[in-house]
Symmetry: C2
Amino acid sequence: MLSKNEEDYLKELFHLTTGEESDNAGTGQLADKLAVTPASANNMLKKLKEKGLVGYQKYGKSTLTEAGRAAALQLIRKHRLWETFLYETLDFSWDEVHEVAEQLEHIRSEKLIEKLDKFLDYPEFDPHGDPIPDAQGNMAPRKKLTLAEIPVGQACRIIGVRDSSALFLQYISELGLSLKSEITVLEKIAFDNSLRILSEGREIQVSEKFSLHVFVR
Amino acid sequence: MLSKNEEDYLKELFHLTTGEESDNAGTGQLADKLAVTPASANNMLKKLKEKGLVGYQKYGKSTLTEAGRAAALQLIRKHRLWETFLYETLDFSWDEVHEVAEQLEHIRSEKLIEKLDKFLDYPEFDPHGDPIPDAQGNMAPRKKLTLAEIPVGQACRIIGVRDSSALFLQYISELGLSLKSEITVLEKIAFDNSLRILSEGREIQVSEKFSLHVFVR
DNA sequence: TAGGGTATTTAGACAAGACTAACTTTTATG
DNA sequence: CATAAAAGTTAGTCTTGTCTAAATACCCTA
């Protein structure tokens, strides 16, 4: 059984070794990310090596073993499912979910995560567009871009939507938008991050919440 | 800020000092409840006294101060709200909710509890019939008895229902039951805890889930 | 290739919270 | 009322995970 701290190290190590620049898994970088001294990180790396979760060698970059990677993916699964729950069900805003999910991800209960996944109808992406691993640790290869992240002035095309609730689908079709619709972002209102957008010659105003539900390319 | 362990001690102390027999708050009883040695409990009691949360004197029974009581009530509020969530929303069974709620109650976020309370529509009782304190720490004085807890052969009267969802209210009225209905429990099926009951001369079979939603006296 | 700067590791200390073993106080019993 | 049993306390140790300070290894550049 892993402690909360061990889990945090594994998760961070996953992020450091999996991004495009996977050359960042030195003791120091890891320590930085976890807001801990290099001495502490070194200590933990040795312990995780003992447990067969991390490939660590003195003065080298660290890597996750298969077991370590699997544990990290489970944690990421829990984190992103909780973020989705907080955002979709409890109506947290986009930027509030992370901090609370950091705590919730450490709750130990297989059943809880299964039931939560089912309740949320097996979402594939979290509110930030990051893919959610399934129970076996498989996940879509990359982040989906949401309409909320398109810079003002740029054009994009709708390639999907986050959820398929009747309310949302009804609304999006009432707006005259659908898959393949081409959109240009005209303005982002700083006050509430709502957007003025242009689609097929018509100008529409949508909320941040809406824009986070629309995947684009 | 209280640690998880400090919180556990306060909550247990609340239960030991608040029940009918409030004479149980010795170092040893507390240690028993928390599965810890008396030495450990003694240690913690001294610490909590320092923090002004517990009235502790050598060789005496311990009590909660007002601050300690308030902290304990917040914890109990969180515990019972999570139990309600697990039972009502995620479809956990009656006996599975406690263990997971023991973990969830330590999540630190005012906002989370507010939003959860709202999402659950401000429930007054948890799945075991225990009252849920409100944000100010007020709660109904005693446990409500549910139909599930009535022994076979005994009669009782419906005095309320746990939730007022359309589905549930429709079902209970279809069964011909209502407030003030007199019920006798004929048999409890060991397999799934469903009940055969008698009301106004008619025999009805109901599930455990149903029986937990009906408050009786 | 020799320094010097940076990154990493080691050693030793500390806090929380548990434990065991030994000691003290309270309580109950004869 | 004396004393033994039960309950509570103290002292010292252990583990986890942190820290600081000092030592060591790596690597880049002159």
